[in-house]
């Protein structure tokens, strides 16, 4: 039986949004507001030899690194301080900010930007823009001596020995490309001074990240900066760190000019210069024993990080920990590298490294199955993780793994078995299934060591509970689900719960809105805090209860060796995609999508359904449609006409089923759900395309051009080696 909290309610923000009455950043009025535009580098890599700063008209300002207060720092603090607010001498990527023009008229600003940018002279250096160029140190290292922001290893068992013992070694390489977030509301903020404090109104997922970055750059104590999250028109990870990059220059300008200053990126700027999903290259060497069981997996994952570190180290970890998908292999070595290039830093995007790792792992399994002449799903089932299994980081799967019944369900509703047999190989039709998981919350001890989330609930004088948390609504439904959690504990209608304060000066830091952690981690804290309030709503006056994150005692993690429980819990998924491939144009038509998820327990079925369908369509875009090419550091697609995201006509309805599996440390048993719904679509699509065209695929996106190449290319052999015993990485036989 479904818990009653799962029952769908109307989202609290639905009507005000569909009536167009909810203000977003651009809808706010600020008296005496000025506008800003960023002056950017026009080379991907170079030394500035002359700025030739043109004269400014009256009432206009040009803000540069020179305007940073002496106690401040020229950086956008994320994990490191390496990303400067304004480049001073060297530029590392095309579009890197050099300064900020501020003034009263937007058209004038646009003209000034043109003048200012074209006046700058550079000594250009050879840029490294791809993974291979970054690894080859093309043009000399961009970062350190080896171009690596991170070079990590995790190891289980004896992978080298097991590879030597293997009867057969199979090698593969997979590559994935950029993806742009295309939140429909572009990056937007107004910086101003209120009550003497620098105050930032901003479209963001993480108001406390913005506060940290701004206070560091200005050299102020964090409490002397206020950040107010405004209604946010989509994020998907694109408003996790990047808002810091636009907020810091504006804050520097506000500190100097003392007027409200608005910066809203126009769409072309947003597409050209904001962070994207990390491109990846994942190589595998897989050892099988005489019985064709997989006994060793050696993974070499490289992510293209761009010019500065941003969150790449953490994205890389999640990518590495996803590179075995949902399978238990006894001997594993994973090396992960985040390589520097002369591109805008890659950053968070729904899935956060997992989609790259899972695509590679799931495609690998389909290709191994083909090599050894086994059905894909049979091979996968033979190696499936179950409750108690060790993970690749030598942690444990504590929860019951419901994948077998989920798989059973998806096979049945999709008609997979029958279709798979009937469609043959290379005849234009295909159906594929992916299995996957997504760890809820920060990787390793992040929640405990870095975030230390804290929530409060205020019992107001009018008897209503008010939620004081840092997590924000970005479309994922948290305004509704958080209210429901607290209302359910207190046994009151969810509309009674107040949750409208998004000002960092007035709320505790419960951490960022990302990593599938809001409901799983913060929702649980709210549930526990609400328990302390139970029966006390009628007490007179105003008071608060607080709850602070405690890491469940059974979890352990060693950050040095990347060993232990990488995540407290996992959401699990099975996706099935059916396609038809046009045998002349190689266009792929998706004819069916079936999904099943274990997200612990859904706090609201309507909200989860929205995540599932939205995630699936975004995932299909990533898999087959969204092409973003980079030439010498510049993105070639920089309008929405060129960079195509799915429209209402591109994909069919998405079928879904939820499998309850309450998690003891989640609110009412809930785990994270915001990313798992994206992760598995691309490999299911990939498997379906492989069947339809009768050959292996090894990259994303699967564009018609690439598919045509695969079909017509000479390289259709199945790559396998018997008894290769060299310790050196093998040249990969199959590359797209």
């Amino acid at each position: 039986m479904r818990h009653k909290i799962t029952r769908e309610v109307e989202r609290v923000d639905a009507r005000i949004k569909s009536r167009g009455e909810l203000p977003y950043l651009a809808d706010y009025e600020f008296e005496d507001r000025l506008y800003a535009r960023v002056v950017r580098s026009r080379v991907a890599r170079g030394t500035i030899t002359a700025r030739n700063t043109p004269a400014l008209p009256e009432h206009y300002h040009y803000i540069t690194a020179d305007d940073i207060p002496p106690e401040g720092k020229n950086c956008v603090r994320m994990i490191q301080d390496d990303w400067p607010a304004f480049a001073e001498h060297e530029v590392r990527y095309y579009g890197e900010p050099l300064g900020l023009l501020v003034g009263p008229d937007r058209d004038t600003l646009a003209q000034l930007v043109e003048q200012f940018e074209s006046a700058v002279e550079y000594r250009e250096h050879e840029a490294a823009v791809t993974i291979d160029e970054g690894l080859a140190l093309k043009g000399g290292p961009v970062h350190g001596s080896d171009n690596l922001f991170a070079d990590l290893h995790t190891r289980k068992g004896d992978p080298e020995g097991a590879l030597k013992r293997s009867a057969r070694v199979i090698e593969r390489e997979f590559r994935t490309a950029y993806q742009e977030h295309v939140y429909i509301e572009p990056q937007a903020l107004v910086g101003t001074r209120e009550n003497g404090m620098v105050t930032i109104y901003i479209s963001t997922q993480c108001p406390f990240y913005v506060r940290k970055a701004v206070s560091t750059a200005l050299g102020l104590p964090p409490d002397d900066v206020a950040v107010v999250q405004t209604a946010t028109g989509g994020g998907f990870g694109g408003k996790e760190n990047y808002p810091d990059v636009v907020a810091v220059p504006v804050a520097i300008a506000v500190a100097k000019i003392d007027r409200p200053i608005e910066l809203i990126l126009d769409r072309m700027e947003d597409l050209k210069y904001t962070s994207k999903r990390h491109p990846s290259r994942v190589r595998y060497r897989v050892g099988l024993d005489e019985t064709e069981r997989i006994i060793a997996v050696d993974v070499d994952m490289v992510l293209e990080a761009g010019a500065y570190e941003s969150s790449s180290r953490v994205v890389l970890q999640r990518g590495m920990f996803s590179s075995n998908s949902v399978y238990e292999f006894p001997n594993v070595h994973v090396r992960g590298r985040a390589v520097a290039t002369n591109n805008v830093p890659s950053d968070a995007f729904r899935g956060f490294g997992a989609p790259q790792g899972l695509f590679a792992a799931e495609m690998l399994m389909t290709q191994i199955a083909r090599v050894i002449g086994l059905d894909e799903l049979t091979l996968k089932q033979q190696h499936l993780l179950k409750q108690g299994s060790p993970t690749l980081t030598n942690g444990r799967i504590y929860e019951e793994v419901k994948l077998p019944e989920m798989l059973e369900h998806v096979r049945r509703v999709s008609g997979y078995d029958h279709k798979r047999a009937a469609y043959g190989l290379g005849l234009g039709r295909g159906i594929g299934i992916s299995l996957f998981k997504h760890g809820s919350a920060f990787t390793g001890n992040g929640e405990q060591e870095i975030i230390k989330a804290r929530v409060r609930i205020r019992k107001r004088a009018d008897g209503r509970p008010e939620l004081l948390v840092a997590n924000v609504e970005i479309g994922q439904g948290v305004l509704t689900t958080f209210r429901k959690i607290v209302a359910e504990v207190l046994d009151i209608p969810y509309s009674e719960v107040v949750y409208d304060n998004h000002n960092t000066s007035q709320i505790p830091d419960s951490g960022p809105t990302c990593a599938s952690r809001s409901v799983a981690i913060v929702g649980y804290l709210l549930q526990e805090a609400a328990k302390k309030l139970k029966g006390r709503l009628h007490e007179p006056g105003e008071f608060e209860v607080e709850q602070v994150y405690e890491h469940p005692a059974h979890l352990h993690w060693d950050a040095e060796s990347l060993n232990g429980d990488a995540y407290p819990s996992y959401a699990w998924g099975v996706n099935c995609v059916e396609v038809e491939v046009d045998r002349v144009t190689y266009e792929v038509n998706v004819v069916g999508v079936w999904t099943a998820y274990d997200v612990g327990r859904a706090i609201d079925e309507g909200v989860i359904r929205g995540q599932i369908i939205g995630g699936a369509i975004q995932g299909l875009g990533y898999a087959g449609l969204e092409k973003l090419e980079n030439a010498r550091g510049r993105f070639l697609q920089h309008t929405m006409a060129d960079y195509c995201i799915p429209t209402s006509l591109d994909y069919p309805n998405v079928d879904y089923a939820l499998f309850d599996n309450p998690y003891p440390y989640g609110p009412f048993g809930a785990k994270g759900a915001g990313e798992v719904v994206f992760d598995g679509i691309a490999p299911a699509f990939g498997s379906a395309v492989q069947q339809a065209i009768g050959c292996e695929i090894a990259q994303l996106p699967l564009t018609p051009e690439y598919i045509s190449e695969r079909v017509h290319g000479t390289d259709r052999t199945v790559h396998t080696q018997r008894k290769t015993h060299t310790a050196e990485p093998q040249p990969v036989a199959s590359s797209p």
């Binding site: 009536r19 651009a26 429909i184 609504e473 970005i474 309008t639 209402s648």
Partner: protein, 139 residues
Amino acid sequence: MRRLLDVLREDCGLTAIKEGCGEGECGACAILIDGRVVDSCILPVGAAQGREIETLESIRETARGRLIVDGLSRGGGVQCGFCTPGIAVTIEALLRENPNPSEYEIRDGISGNLCRCTGYQQIVEGVLYTAAETRERSR
């Protein structure tokens, strides 16, 4: 010449109209001119001379407008909400022309509006609801 979008938003205060791209691709700025859906971001204000403009601000107060809001709100057609006003305006135009659209006709009708959050399915279901309710109530 100024864009119609800016005049409506800034001079007339009609902020239900959103700017998502400014290049006529996303539909967030949709309004009706003489009953037809137009992206106000690519129209110079002069082009509206002497023509009837409707925005969500007026549509939402009509009987069908209220049902459009209902349809979008009940079944999850709204997530971040930034695309939603433009979609609501487009639905109004669609239903004026075709009070009983098929699922395909709805998908076709809203295909000029980009939504990055919902995957569209729940919007389509919402329009089916609105269309059915509108017919029911006008009987």
